[in-house]
Amino acid sequence: MMENRLSHEQIADQVRQMIAEQMEINEHELTPEVKIFETLGMDSLDAIDLAIACKRKFGLELKESDMREVRTLADIYSMVQKGYDNKTATH
């Protein structure tokens, strides 16, 4: 199990790719400090689709309340990384 574990950097890379594809934005523009709602124009539907994508990719059940706390890409990365760590720790 441990050898398949994703590093935080790998998770951030994958989440960045998912957002780039979903929002049709060049990955190079997606720096950690970018504000996802104000700058990227994400809305509630996009947040739901991102949560769905995270579930498919990482098997994570992200809570709507968690999503509402998110401001920047870095916030999303750490939310997913935290969820992933919790999930893999219990296995």
């Binding site: 929002m23 049709e24 124009g41 809305d43 539907l45 996009d46 739901i48 689709d49 769905i52």
Partner: protein, 412 residues
């Protein structure tokens, strides 16, 4: 009592198997072209269908749509969007002219986005989860009012939406609602029309009922054959059409080009059978539309029929026309050129009728060679016919569910 307001058509947008501008569409119609095509891919994956014919819009380019709007659109909404943007430009209007609550959207389709419906339920069955099969826009892309709602959101129009989903009469009812709304002073402008995306389920449903053409797979442009003795059913099609309807005085004041006036509308239902047309209810519908327009049958030169090429439907409509107008009435169906565009049929055929009024030229029924013995002896238009006195056109649309709808158009 206040005089009811007059309603005119000031803009036209079409995306059809015969061309995707008003000018190209008109040219193809007057040249007698056919939009019906053989679909090789239906041979390879027939899904049980016997027909290989459909009137599809090939090389459809919707143009640029921002992602935030595109994510909730399936093909039916994209066709509608393209036709509507073209109609607005054609009318010489800008979006800011329409972004107010005095503009309504009346827009129809048969079942919204059938491809998305199919994908969603097939995926749900596969993964055994209605949750996992969906994303945030699944419903928005398949819902019956997807075309109308996407137009409102993408174009930023806050006025009332009326989404008609009455199958083959959907866009005729949409135009009718729009006409009534302006006439009664509820709004000043209406974006009216309908859209349909091709899905094999539609010809299949007609095929089950014995109403899809299956004998002309080797000669696609020889079907459908409305009113003809060899007719064997519909050829399903796709497309979209949008009319900009405006209150007459306002249209004139802004110097708009007027393509025609709507002077009457009526809709009823047969209350007798889901699929079999009832001649007496068709007669009542047409006669009520004439009364609404304050016209006698003798004042109408021509009827653009619903006639789809089915045995029962064409016969019933011809007998209804005979009863209302007598044998002198000139009649044709544009479905011989276009196939049956379902939710878009009524509006695209209304556009064809406006073109006939504009050029004082009647179009024949393509593929009508020998009027059928079970159709009434009315004056079937057999070739392009110049009618200098052409002033009024009656446009019929009928649909499963017993729905009848009749519009009356007047040339300017």
């Amino acid at each position: 009592m206040r005089t009811p307001r007059r309603v005119v058509v000031t803009g036209i947008g079409v995306v059809t198997p015969l061309g995707s501008t008003y000018e190209a569409f008109k040219a193809a119609l007057f040249e007698g072209e056919s939009g019906v095509r053989y679909h090789k891919e239906w041979q390879e994956a027939s899904y049980g269908l016997k027909t290989r014919l459909a009137a599809t819009v090939n090389d459809f380019d919707c143009g640029e749509i921002p992602r935030v709007h595109r994510r909730s659109m399936s093909r039916v909404a994209m066709l509608a969007y393209r036709a509507t943007c073209d109609a607005i430009a054609h009318a010489g209007l800008t979006l800011s002219d329409l972004q107010n609550e005095n503009t309504s959207i009346c827009y129809g389709s048969t079942i919204g986005g059938p491809s998305v419906l199919e994908e969603y339920f097939a995926e749900a069955e596969m993964v055994k989860s209605y949750i996992e099969a969906a994303n945030s826009t699944t419903f928005l892309r398949m819902m019956p009012h997807t075309a109308a709602a996407n137009l409102a959101i993408a174009l930023g129009i806050p006025g009332p939406i009326h989404a008609t989903c009455t199958a083959c009469a959907a866009s005729t009812q949409a135009i009718g609602y729009g006409y009534e709304a302006i006439r009664q002073g509820k709004v000043d402008r209406v974006i009216a029309g309908g859209s349909e995306e091709m899905h094999r389920g539609i010809p299949a449903i007609f095929e089950v009922l014995g109403a899809t053409s299956i004998k002309f797979n080797d000669t696609p442009d020889a079907s459908p054959r409305p009113f003809d003795e060899k007719r064997d059913g519909i050829v399903a099609g796709e497309g979209a059409g949008t009319l900009i309807l405006e209150e007459y005085e306002a249209a004139r004041a802004r110097g708009a080009h007027i393509y025609g006036e709507l002077v009457g509308y009526y809709t009823n239902n047969s209350s007798s059978h889901m699929t079999n047309p009832a001649v007496d209810s068709l007669v009542r519908c047409i006669e009520a539309a004439l009364r609404a327009a304050d016209l006698t049958p003798a004042e109408v030169e021509y009827v653009n029929a619903h006639a789809t090429g089915t045995d029962v439907g064409d016969a019933a409509e011809s007998h209804a026309l005979m009863k209302v107008f007598g044998g002198r009435i000139k009649v044709s169906s544009t479905k011989g050129h276009l196939g049956h565009l379902m939710g878009a049929a009524g509006v695209v055929e209304t556009v064809a009728s406006l073109a006939m009024l504009e050029h004082k030229m009647l179009l024949p029924t393509r593929n009508l060679e020998h009027p059928s013995a079970n159709c009434a002896a009315i004056d079937y238009v057999m070739r392009n016919e110049h009618v200098p006195e052409l002033k009024y056109i009656v446009k019929n649309s009928f649909a499963f569910g017993g729905i009848n709808a009749t519009l009356i158009l007047k040339g300017i």
